[in-house]
Symmetry: C2
Subunit: 176 residues, 2 copies
């Protein structure tokens, strides 16, 4: 069920990951969803986001490892994301992006989860792409996340991961 | 009705801008929606996106006008977007972003509209921020759009437009 929820969140955000959608996609009996997730949609989405955030953190860590220079690391990270989105035919993106652009009155309930995911990713980027000064390093990591989230928007609109490669080439220039 | 549709799209993407939502938000009789938009949701969203795209093009043009240098233009553009998102308490973002991250089987129907909007914005950015060589200028304009779309994601997740200002400061360095 959690896998179905993650997939639906990555595709359509909160509005696509209701109880009925998760039941349909996971082929689980409806009663079992309420059994495992008595907190309903907020609980499902919250747990799905937490699992998803951990996976993306590992993905970023892997993409940034074993490179010699900061520009190489930045380019490798964006190339990895380009491949990742193209592997889904540009139909799935970042669950933090889809959920963020779908927040309504539930914004305050979800923001800590979303901020937590972004923070964990920024930390792993800052760990690998060290610009010498902590504040500058953290700010650059923030820019990288901004570009990743925006490249996902363009990838889904354009049907190609090219926006990731474009951003990687430019952002690598900033850390040369 | 078009204004209600634009507002709903900016808030929640396609899934939030169904016929019933537009009827509720615009307080128009349901029959009149079908009268003006016999093509249903695709037609409403399409027309709303077209009007929205024109407005954003004018907004970008205005933000980039009357500045002396490329770095000043870039910073002014991102500052203007930071203000724009904060004016909505970070509850509304770019309709191209929200719709892109919400595409399903309707992707091919919507992609030309989304690509068209992004292209028109890239052209106005490239017109104002000329880096001397056409291909490089166009690529930088693409990066700016990537950063704007991503900063909207972060703004809605974080409840502040700070990601726009951060991106503006970094991207200005690329055109110094």
């Amino acid at each position: 069920m959690l896998e179905a929820a993650i997939d639906l969140l990555r595709g359509y955000g909160l509005s696509g990951a209701g109880i009925n959608d998760v039941v349909r996609e996971s082929a689980a009996p409806k009663g079992s969803v309420y059994h495992f997730f008595p907190g309903g949609k907020l609980q499902i989405a919250g747990e799905a986001l937490a699992v998803y955030a951990g996976r993306v953190e590992a993905f970023i860590d892997e993409a940034l490892s074993g490179r010699r220079s900061n520009p190489e690391r930045v380019r490798a990270l964006f190339d990895a994301f380009a491949q990742r989105v193209e592997n889904t035919s540009c139909r799935r993106s970042c669950a933090v992006g889809t959920v963020s652009l779908d927040l309504g009155d539930d914004a305050e309930a979800f923001r800590p989860l979303l901020r937590g995911a972004l923070d964990s990713w920024a930390r792993v980027i800052a760990h690998h792409v060290d610009l010498g000064e902590a504040k500058r390093t953290r700010s650059f990591a923030g820019l990288v996340l901004t570009a990743i989230e925006g490249a996902y928007v363009r990838a889904r609109a354009e049907g190609t991961g090219q926006a990731f490669r474009e951003a990687g080439a430019w952002l690598a220039q900033l850390v040369q």
